[in-house]
């Protein structure tokens, strides 16, 4: 919810009308990374376009490394981060898919690379529009995953993400997802902090064994069965610590900027009997639907998941346990089983009936009517449907 129309004229000067892509680039200007290896892909391109302009104008000292593919972009990023350079990148869809082999390496080598992902579906059919299929493909890479709701959050989470990634208890890549087009290309007022505040907040980059800092060692050594398991376990436990670290960092950010974020956000959940769970930009649509149903005295609420990895299981359990029925909205699919967010909620929450809804694949709109239809359906039966409901999809085009 934007508070800009209640601010004083002085405060309003801090707002600029920016697309999500430009907001990410603005955060990059202020963080001023050392190295930015990147390959363009829709809908990430506005980020690198805006940031390349900033660098060309001399407003950031970042070295933009133009490489021949996303696989090379992430490979260069791993090398740069371990060498001792603050390193960031951006990608989407097929680009992230191509990058993923090296995202696994970035996580296991504990390279704290922050990447903005303009979430777009995966081919095929080839399609450039928004859904979370690309992020979900990176689900098990070991990267921290954040999904934001609007351009303001994209700006804020680039800044917070940098602190989270580089925290000595974490040292892992952060993947910050902003929905393709809905956020990357749509302009809205974004409150921009002072450069000095951002620089102080993120601090300097301190990788503990930097190749160029006189402590050079062996990186990416082969690990036999007697070592691999422990190394992997360290990495898994570091990702879990990421949740605790992120909680402290959002609190620090709130103190300094006044913008307070929850890793999982409840909306009108106080006495809710039915609730929706969603990630990303369409959270606003569900908020509208909740408001209109609340106006008709229906006890409904919304839970928006911002942090998907590590998954905030206990927060979700606390928020959803008192509810009678939950519908989990996934903007990706797991063919042959239930989609990812649904599986997570199922594994975290005991008690309520939980339905699985797939929506918005390949950029399909989720309308307020779609959401109200799901709420109505959720009120009808006390039994789990045990089937996936497709919101906003035309079943008349079924095969056969």
């Amino acid at each position: 919810m934007m508070a800009w129309f209640t601010e004083s004229a002085e405060d309003l000067r801090r707002f600029r009308v920016l697309t999500g892509g430009q907001a990410v680039a603005e955060a990059l200007r202020q963080i001023d990374p050392d190295v930015f290896p990147v390959y363009p892909i829709t809908p990430q391109t506005p980020i690198i376009e805006a940031f390349a302009q900033i660098v060309a104008d001399g407003k950031s000292h970042a070295h933009i490394l133009t490489v021949e593919s996303e696989h090379s972009a992430m490979s260069a990023a791993v090398g740069a981060a371990l060498a001792g350079a603050r390193t960031m990148t951006a990608t989407a869809s097929q680009g992230l898919a191509y990058m993923i082999e090296i995202v696994y390496l970035a996580a296991s080598l504990r390279a704290p690379i922050v990447m903005a992902v303009g979430n777009r579906t995966l081919s095929g059919p080839i399609n450039i529009h928004g859904d979370h299929s690309d992020g979900m493909l990176a689900r098990d890479t070991g990267a921290i995953q954040i999904y934001v709701k609007n351009a303001q959050e994209a700006y804020d989470w680039m800044i917070m993400g940098t602190r989270i990634a580089e925290h000595p208890d974490v040292l892992l890549p952060v993947l910050m997802g902003l929905d393709g087009f809905t956020l990357t290309h749509s302009a809205e007022p974004v409150e921009i902090e002072e450069d000095g505040l951002v620089k102080e907040f993120v601090g300097s980059y301190e990788y503990p064994y930097a190749l160029l800092a006189g402590t050079a060692g062996t990186y990416g050594a082969f690990a036999m069965p007697e070592h691999y398991f422990e190394i992997k376990r360290q990495q898994i436990e570091a990702l879990d610590r990421g949740g605790v670290v992120a909680q402290r960092i959002v609190e620090d950010f709130a103190e300094r900027t006044g913008r307070a974020y929850d890793l999982v956000e409840g909306y009108r959940m106080e006495d809710a009997e039915r609730a929706m769970v969603i990630m990303g930009s369409q959270s606003g649509t569900v908020e509208e639907a909740v408001d209109s149903l609340r106006a008709r005295h229906q006890k409904v609420g919304l839970v928006t998941v911002r942090m998907f990895r590590p998954f905030p299981r206990q927060m979700l359990a606390r928020l959803l346990a008192p509810v009678q029925a939950v519908a989990v909205f996934d903007r990706s699919s797991t063919p042959g089983s239930f989609p990812p967010l649904y599986q997570e909620i199922r594994a975290s929450v005991n008690g309520p009936r939980i339905d699985s809804i797939i929506y918005g694949l390949g950029g399909r709109d989720l309308t307020i009517d779609n959401v109200i239809q799901v709420f109505d359906r959720l009120g009808q039966s006390a039994q789990d449907s045990n089937a996936i409901f497709y919101a906003g999809s035309d079943s008349r085009t079924k095969e056969g």
Partner: protein
């Protein structure tokens, strides 16, 4: 020294780091030991051990390398004099006096 505690984040290896491989991770609570009064130094256990955990010194059997031993009990089965037997993992095992320091 237990190796897992010395793994640096990202498994970076710095100049003076030492790796002590622990290959015994899948022993399930028991380890072999030797009743030396019954051992005839025939080396049958040594020739059967699939993980080369039987330590020889000057061609004589002197003890078991618990970092390598997986607890498969082939030594126990192959010993013709029942000199090798299994004990609970926690049991302290004293090796032959003449090799004292090894393991």
């Amino acid at each position: 020294m237990s190796f897992p505690e010395t793994i640096r984040p990202g498994a970076v290896i710095l100049r003076n780091d030492q790796s002590v491989p622990n290959m015994s991770g899948w022993r399930t609570g028991k380890k072999p030991t030797v009743k030396w009064s019954q051992c005839v130094d025939c080396l049958i256990c040594w020739s059967f051990c699939p993980d080369a955990a039987m330590i020889l010194e000057d061609g004589h059997f002197v003890g078991i390398d618990y970092q390598a031993c997986k607890g498969c009990e082939i030594c126990v089965t192959s010993c013709p004099t029942q000199a090798v037997y299994m004990v609970p993992e926690e049991t302290p095992v004293s090796l032959r006096e003449e090799i004292g320091g090894v393991l």
